[in-house]
Each structure stands twice: as structure tokens, then as C-alpha cells.
């Protein structure tokens, strides 16, 4: 098999075929650029399909008082004011247009009585705001964008006789390296999964839309594609990552059986009477009520049990403490050796309510576990633990154009791979609209960047040779580490030590272990050939997962406060001083991860005025408030 890559010439290469990638590609193609879409799996299978809730956009269909300012406020509150205010502003302003645009592509959202797009309530949003299609909004979004691309291809076919003339999808293709010409992006290097052939895309502009990093965790709701490719590609090309310490975890995800590992168990299971027990059968939450909550929560099981029927005269059961408290408790029980066999705790509703009541109150939960795992939640307890869901951090970008910061030019990022928009915590429904708003912007500005470019950057042969060698190295080694074992080890480190609750000692330990794994990854070896060899694919992905994990661990160690998706047990409070700081990750020449502090951009005065002063006082330093 040849080691010479097949060459392709494009104007814009979009890496990632989820919502953000497809939206960016559509925009680049509409701007007249020859566009390639690189998809790690088949076209239309992206992780975007997993989004159930909806896409948040202040269209005001359900409540006419809703507007972009309210949405902006909700987003900033959700992110604990660490958000890049400009991104949150653009997002809130442009989301409705992006949703309406989807309808012109053929999307069919659920409707209101007067025929408009129906909007539903969701946590953190002041008004009903999520445009939705049942519980499959993500699928609708991806399918709509996919079909729009096909329709553009049909136009090209009518005009030129070739579907692929101006926009082409490279399915099951992975990019392993970005090619640079000086500081400017010159192309991307990768391989075709099916054939194992090497590919070289020569393009002056690259849009990253590769999604998140969840596969670095033991328990995650993310698919295998989420290996942080875009994060790592950007780092290696000289771009920077911000906010990498912020990951969204859910305290109760299924940890066993494997067929449903990572799937979220809604909080309403606990609200309806579900209790948490450790392996000794003890209802342990009573021991984890923090002093500040002591007054609102029950002290005995009897009192807690009375609350379900008589919430006015009794205090709430401690199972209903805030998410991070529940997570912390589960974490401590597991670490004290009182966890379930699969490393979680037991969430039991079967002994608390009669079966028919459970089915009536939790129909989708019951159905899901019955269908996917043959687990009957009316008969047996569930094994639950924190599950990794979404990464708020990502490539540091210019809010308006999506262009990556750092030394590199011609690199753009949109969607989960970009950082800043969601601050320290993402509101449900904001991710789908984020994809559309910033996907479009990235595509548009990539095209504009191209127009301003005096000459096409050139790919150097030396770089191609080096990338080829790196890509083929795991196949060339006769024997070495098994990539699956390495992934498990990495997941164990991240899951156990850089998980939902973090401590200084564990984080330093994690960094040490990550360093060891890094040495082992250098010796990974896989058998078999280049044709659709999952072992080889994983071996190459490991490199990316590792460097991104290091960023997360380093940033988590540095940030000495608890905020949104970052909870430090040794620093449980939110600090206004830390709110002013973004942690920025970069790679040096030798491939070592560097971390520096950078100020969070200050909000423009008119946006400042959207908030009550008393609310801002909770987050901001006196100094910042005084400036106003």
C-alpha cells in the first residue's frame, strides 16, 4: 500500500460533519468557495443526533416578552459570568434567524396553535424557548443540514454535471494533522478509514467542528468520535484552548450494565422518591448535607419520606441536594470503598413506589432501560455515577469570526470544539443554537479570509513526510502497548482523578499518570492492515485525547475555586477574583502543555445594564462594580 497521500485541492476544509461543521460548509459553499467536509463517521451520524431537548432561540412564539436580551441574561447566568459576553450576545441575537433558516431547508419543528414554531421550557431559561421536534431535535437538525448540502450538490450537478464540483463530503475520513506554511494554514493531512489511504487536503482555510472530548472519561454519554481531535489539532497548529477545566457532568448516569453506560437518569427519579444507597445498603446522603443547607433538609429517613406526600410541613430529603453535592457524596462513597461493583452507587426506586406508579411517572426512563438493557427499574435498583456530558472549554476564538487565537492564521472553530460561549456551564438547548450561529459565522469568515489572502499557502513536503510517519507508526511497530488498554487506563485516570469533584492531590497525581501514559502512547502498536482497522484508528486518536486531558488536568489544578462545571473540594466557593481569569492552554515547541492566565473581556456598558446590580454583586469584584 502506498505511503504517498492522495491530494485534494479545496478552498475551505471543514473538519467535522455535525451541526456546526455542516452549517459552516453550507455558508462557505454559498460564498462560492470549493468546500470539503471531513466526517469521521458516515454522513449524518454525528453526535448532534443525541441532543434531545431542543434549540434555544428567543423567537417569542410561546411568550412574546422573550427577546435576545433575556436570552443573553440567562446564558450569562448559566455560565456564571465567565462567558465571552460577545459570543453570548451574538448567540442570543442570531439564534432565531438560524432556526427560521432551517425551515427554508425543510425542517419540520413542532407547531403552536397559530402555526408558528412551538417552544418548550427548559432549566435555566426564563421563558419557554426551545424549538423542538419531540425528543429528537438533534436528529432533525442534522438531517435538515445534510439535506441542504445534498440540495446544493444537486444545484452544482445541474450547473456543472458533477455533484462534487463545489462541495464534497469525505465520509469516514480522519484528519491527523494540520499543515502550515509559516503561521498560515495550508491544508490538512489524514486518512480514509475504509481503505486506509492517506489523504492530503490543500486548503488555505480550515474550520474545526469536531465536537467534544467525552471519550477520555470512563462514564460518558458521548460517542467514540469525541476524542478531542479538533482541540488537539488546534493546539499543535499553534492555537490556544480556554476554559478546559469546565466539563459538564451529570451526577447520576448509569454505570451498569454496559449497554446503557453513560445514559442519564433524570433528576425526577430522585424527586419522585428514588433514594441513593451504598453497597452496605445505607442511605448515605444524610451524612453529606452541608451546613448551609442543614435547615432545609431532613435529618431522619422518616422525615424525608414524609416530604414526598407532605412537602409543606417537612424538610426535603437530602437526595434532592444540588447536583454537585450529590456528585460529591457519590464520589466519596465510591472512593471509601462502599461503591457498587461497577463503581457507582445504587439508586433505588423499585422498593419505594409500586410498579404501576413508577411506569406512570417515569415512562421514558422505564421504557429506555427496559428496551436497551432489559433492566426493570420497577424491580431492581439502578447503578449510577457521574457521567461526562459536554465540554465548555475549547479553541479560543475571535467571537465575531470564529478565527482561532494564537499564532496560527486561517484556522476557524465552531460548536463544542470552540470555547468561551458557555462560560463555566452550558444551559440546556444552547448547544444546538450555538452550532448554527457560530457554524455560519465560521464558514462566512473562512470565505472572507480567503478573499483577503494574497497567495495560497503551500504545503511543505517535509511536513507531509513527518505526518505520514506519525500516522503509520503504530502499524509499523512490531510489538507495543495495546491501544484499548491504554484508552482504559486514560479513562480511569480522568474519571477517577479529574472527574466531577476535584482535589489538589488527585489532580497532581493525575498529571503524573498522564505523563506516564504519554510515554506509553509513544510505543503503541496494532496488528492488522490499514483497511478499516479500529485498533489503528484508536491508536491515533489516543494522542489527541491525551494532550487535551493534560490541558484539562492542568487547568483544573490551577483554578482554585468552584464554578459551574469545575468543582474543587478544597476550594468550594466561587471567587469573584477568579471570575476575571481565563486559563489559556497552549503547546510549546517540544509538545509540552503550557498554561497562562488571561483576563476575561469586560462586558460593554449597555450589556452591563441588563442586569440588576445586586445580582452582579454576587459574581463581580467590587472593583469591577465600581468601574461602572
Amino acid at each position: 500500500m502506498t505511503t504517498t497521500p492522495t491530494r485534494h485541492l479545496y478552498d475551505v476544509v471543514v473538519i467535522g460533519a455535525g451541526g456546526a461543521g455542516l452549517r459552516a460548509a453550507i455558508e462557505a459553499r454559498l460564498a462560492g468557495k470549493k468546500t470539503a467536509i471531513i466526517s469521521k463517521s458516515l454522513f449524518g451520524k454525528a453526535h448532534t443526533v443525541m441532543a434531545e431537548g431542543g434549540a434555544a432561540a428567543a423567537m417569542g412564539n410561546a411568550n412574546s416578552r422573550d427577546n435576545w436580551m433575556v436570552h443573553f441574561r440567562d446564558t450569562m447566568r448559566g455560565g456564571k459570568f465567565l462567558n465571552n459576553f460577545r459570543m453570548a450576545e451574538l448567540h442570543a441575537k442570531e439564534a432565531p434567524e438560524r432556526i427560521w433558516e432551517l425551515e427554508t431547508y425543510g425542517a419540520l419543528f413542532d407547531r403552536t396553535k397559530d402555526g408558528k414554531i412551538s417552544q418548550r421550557n427548559f432549566g435555566g431559561h426564563e421563558y419557554p424557548r426551545l424549538a423542538h421536534v419531540g425528543d429528537r431535535t438533534g436528529l432533525e437538525l442534522i438531517r435538515t443540514l445534510q439535506q441542504k448540502i445534498v440540495s446544493l450538490q444537486q444545484e452544482d450537478f445541474a450547473a456543472t454535471g458533477s455533484y462534487d464540483a463545489r462541495i464534497r463530503v469525505f465520509q469516514e475520513t480522519t484528519i491527523t494533522e494540520l499543515m502550515l506554511d509559516g503561521d498560515r494554514v495550508a491544508g490538512a493531512f489524514g486518512y480514509d478509514r475504509e481503505s486506509g489511504d492517506l489523504l492530503l487536503f490543500e486548503a488555505p482555510a480550515v474550520v474545526l467542528a469536531t465536537g467534544g472530548v467525552g471519550r477520555s472519561y470512563k462514564v460518558t454519554s458521548n460517542s467514540w468520535e469525541y476524542t478531542g481531535d479538533g482541540h488537539a489539532l488546534a493546539l499543535r497548529a499553534g492555537a490556544t484552548l480556554i476554559n478546559m477545566e469546565f466539563l459538564q457532568f451529570h451526577p447520576t448516569g448509569m454505570v451498569w450494565p454496559p449497554s446503557v453506560k453513560g445514559i442519564l437518569v433524570t433528576e425526577s427519579v430522585r424527586g419522585d422518591g428514588g433514594v441513593l444507597r451504598n453497597s452496605e445498603g445505607k442511605r448515605f446522603m444524610f451524612e453529606y448535607v452541608p451546613d448551609v443547607f442543614r435547615k432545609q433538609y431532613a435529618e431522619t429517613e422518616e422525615e424525608a419520606d414524609r416530604w414526598y406526600t407532605d412537602p409543606d410541613d417537612n424538610r426535603r430529603p437530602p437526595e434532592l441536594l444540588p447536583r454537585d453535592e450529590v456528585a460529591r457524596a457519590i464520589n466519596s462513597e465510591v472512593k471509601a470503598g462502599r461503591g457498587s461493583p461497577a463503581g457507582g452507587v445504587f439508586l433505588d426506586i423499585s422498593t419505594r413506589l409500586p410498579a404501576e406508579q413508577i411506569i406512570r411517572r417515569l415512562p421514558s426512563m422505564h421504557h429506555q432501560f427496559k428496551e436497551l438493557a432489559d433492566v426493570d427499574i420497577t424491580k431492581e435498583p439502578m447503578e449510577v455515577g457521574p457521567t461526562c456530558h459536554y465540554v465548555m472549554g475549547g479553541v479560543e476564538v475571535d467571537p465575531d469570526s470564529g478565527a482561532a487565537f494564537g499564532s496560527v492564521q486561517g484556522l476557524f472553530a465552531a460548536g463544542e470544539v470552540s470555547g468561551g460561549m458557555h462560560g463555566s456551564n452550558r444551559l440546556g438547548g444552547n448547544s444546538l443554537s450555538d452550532l448554527l450561529v457560530f457554524g455560519k459565522r465560521a464558514g462566512e469568515h473562512a470565505a472572507a479570509y480567503l478573499d483577503a489572502l494574497p497567495s495560497r499557502p503551500k504545503v511543505s513536503r517535509v511536513d507531509v513526510a513527518a505526518a505520514t510517519e506519525v500516522a503509520l507508526a503504530p502499524l509499523a511497530r512490531a510489538d507495543g502497548e495495546n491501544p484499548y488498554t491504554l484508552q482504559q487506563d486514560l479513562q480511569a485516570v480522568m474519571g477517577d482523578l479529574v472527574g466531577i469533584i476535584r482535589r489538589e492531590g488527585e489532580l497532581s497525581d493525575a498529571l503524573k499518570r498522564l505523563h506516564e501514559i504519554r510515554l506509553r502512547v509513544a510505543t503503541v502498536a496494532v496488528g492488522g492492515g490499514r483497511r478499516y482497522n479500529p485498533g489503528w484508528h484508536l491508536a491515533l486518536d489516543l494522542r489527541n485525547m491525551l494532550v487535551v486531558s493534560e490541558c484539562t488536568a492542568k487547568a483544573a489544578l490551577e483554578r482554585e475555586e468552584s464554578r459551574g462545571g469545575h468543582t474543587r473540594e478544597d476550594f468550594p466557593k466561587m471567587s469573584p477574583q477568579w471570575r476575571r481569569v481565563n486559563l489559556v492552554c497552549s503547546l510549546d515547541e517540544g509538545g509540552q502543555v503550557h498554561l497562562e492566565r488571561k483576563p476575561v473581556p469586560a462586558m460593554r456598558p449597555e450589556l452591563f445594564d441588563l442586569f440588576e446590580r445586586s445580582e452582579l454583586a454576587k459574581y463581580l469584584t467590587d472593583e469591577e462594580l465600581g468601574e461602572e
Partner: protein
């Protein structure tokens, strides 16, 4: 507990069922077993998967001969001593092991005319009633696992039909658009019959049987589309009604929408016969390259090389005559 599996391994040049004994835990699905195989015995066993929750439609395979999603087939549906046989989709060319080349479906997707937005309706002004979108919404549940395409005997047992037959997945797409309250095209029925080969379907309903999303493909899409074709071509009462209400003239006016671009350039089957490129409307060859940044295909030597090379970069040494 160890269970016995037979997994087809090989590629287009041949292959066979191989036997494996794999540990199976309670509550696992077939895809878990494949993952365990990859992690412990066969790291290079090729298999597609993504979401592992029945939402993306990647892990289509045949389990004990039935087309299914690996992530939705629980091990508890088999008896403890039963051998589970896992094979790739039969209808499509195999790439390796359980991975098949499903490009047939993507080619058919490109030949289905896309949604045509209504003229003069601005984005944000779309008004549709829930009852009017519900039928199409059912079809948009499709996760494109292509199990229906794989199980349909029209192409499964008759490779030669692949050219003329689009398959159930694209019949529901045609129905979805024909039932879309705001779609501006009126020629969907003709396209379904002439372009997609709707007539090949003999409604034996296997597509509906295997659909993991439980879309009533046959009853709600294929049969209504067949009936809509009948409306246009065969029904006497409808014809009479048209005459009386003079609807025929209205519809004829609507039909001036250009027909779907003819799908001749690429045949859907894997075997492509050599043919001259399609001519444009003016009878001349289209020069697609005009829109490319450079003329002709990319040079295999790279764009940064101009010939002839300067002598110092040539590694060839001319034999010394002396």
C-alpha cells in the same frame, strides 16, 4: 458467562464465519460483545458504531440472519446455549468484516429532489399546523440505518435493480416531501414512479418489519405514494372531479417547475460502465474545471513544483560518457 459467537470476517476478496467464545454479562447488547471482542481478541475487527443508544443508525448488521442494530439487540433475547451469528449487511458490498459500503444510499439520496421552499415566504414567516406536519414528521424520525434498504428483496436478491430502484428509505423521503405542507414541487409523484422505481415494491413489508424507529414505511408512505400515483394516472372519479372543477388547468400550471435533474451521470450500482461525459443544454461539454482554482486535476507532484526541475534538484545522474 462465556457465550458462543460466529462473526463473519473478511473483505471483498472473500471471508468466512469465525468462531469466538466471549464473556457476556447480564444486560448487554450485541454491540457490547463486539467491543469486548475488539478489546480482548481481535483489535482489528471492523465494525461501525456511534451513539450506542439507537439514535444514529450506524451499527447496522445481521444478527442470526435478521437485519438489526447491534446496540438495540439485547443478549437476553437469545437462549443461553444459542450460537449468535453476526454478519455484515448482505445487500451492500463489503469493505471489511462487519463494515459495508453503503454509498448506494447516499447516491440515491442525491437523486431525490430536495425540499423546494415556497416562493415569496420569508424565513420566520412559515406557518404550518401541527396536524399538517405530523405525517412528514414520522418519516423524519428515520435514523438512516439503511436496514430497510438492506432487507428489501428488490435489491437484496436482484443486484441489477439497484439502478432503477431507490428503496424504502427514499420512498419515505418522497412521501415526506409530497406531504410537506409548504413544499413547492408538484412532480414528486412522477418522480417516485419514474425516477425511484416505486412500482418495483410489491409491499411485502419487510422494510416496516426491520425498522428500529417503528416507522410504518409501507402503510404510511409507500402505499399512500402508490395511491397518489394512481390518482394522477388511473382514477376515473378523480379525473371527473378535475374536469368539473377545472383543477387540471391549475395543476398543469404548477407543473412547469423544472423536473429533477436526470440521474444519469452516475449509476447507483457499483459497476460503472465507461461513458462519455454528459452534454450541457447547449450540446457542448460542461467545463466544470472553470470553477476550480486551477485547471485540471491537482498535480501528483504538488502545486509548488514547476517543470522542468532545476538540475540541482534532480537526483538522476547522467552516465558519464567517458
Amino acid at each position: 458467562m462465556k457465550r458462543h459467537f460466529r462473526v463473519w470476517r473478511g473483505d471483498s476478496s472473500g471471508g468466512d464465519l469465525e468462531d469466538f467464545d466471549v464473556e457476556v454479562n447480564e444486560g448487554e447488547v450485541v454491540l457490547d460483545v463486539i467491543h469486548r471482542l475488539q478489546a480482548t481478541q481481535t483489535p482489528d475487527l471492523a465494525c461501525r458504531w456511534n451513539c450506542k443508544a439507537g439514535k444514529c443508525g450506524s451499527c447496522s448488521m445481521e444478527i442470526n440472519g435478521m437485519p438489526r442494530l447491534g446496540c438495540m439487540t439485547r443478549m437476553s433475547t437469545f437462549t443461553a446455549d444459542e450460537t449468535v451469528t453476526i454478519t455484515p449487511l448482505r445487500t451492500f458490498p463489503v469493505i471489511r468484516d462487519l463494515v459495508t459500503d453503503v454509498s448506494f444510499n447516499y447516491e440515491k439520496a442525491r437523486e431525490t429532489p430536495a425540499f423546494a421552499p415556497p416562493a415569496g415566504v420569508a424565513p420566520g414567516e412559515y406557518r404550518m399546523q401541527q396536524v399538517d406536519v405530523e405525517r412528514s414528521q414520522e418519516f423524519r424520525k428515520c435514523i438512516e440505518c439503511f436496514l430497510c434498504q438492506n432487507t428489501c428483496h428488490v435489491v437484496r436478491d436482484h443486484e441489477e435493480n439497484k439502478e432503477a430502484f431507490a428503496g424504502p428509505r427514499f420512498f419515505i423521503r418522497a412521501a415526506e416531501l409530497d406531504m410537506h405542507p409548504l413544499d413547492a414541487r408538484t412532480d414528486r409523484k412522477q418522480h417516485a414512479q419514474q425516477g425511484q422505481g416505486l412500482g418495483f415494491c410489491n409491499i411485502t413489508k419487510c422494510c416496516t418489519e426491520v425498522c428500529p424507529e417503528h416507522i410504518k414505511i409501507t402503510d404510511n408512505a409507500i402505499i399512500p405514494m402508490k395511491e397518489r400515483v394512481v390518482d394522477r394516472r388511473y382514477d376515473p372519479l378523480v379525473r371527473l372531479g378535475r374536469k368539473i372543477f377545472r383543477r387540471d388547468q391549475l395543476e398543469a400550471a404548477g407543473e412547469s417547475v423544472p423536473r429533477a435533474t436526470p440521474a444519469t451521470a452516475e449509476t447507483p450500482s457499483g459497476r460503472r460502465l465507461p461513458e462519455s461525459p454528459a452534454l450541457g443544454p447547449d450540446g457542448r461539454l460542461d467545463i466544470a474545471e472553470l470553477s476550480a482554482p486551477i485547471q485540471g486535476g491537482p498535480s501528483p507532484f504538488g502545486e509548488d513544483i514547476t517543470f522542468p526541475l532545476p538540475p540541482e534538484r534532480v537526483t538522476y545522474h547522467h552516465p558519464d560518457p567517458s
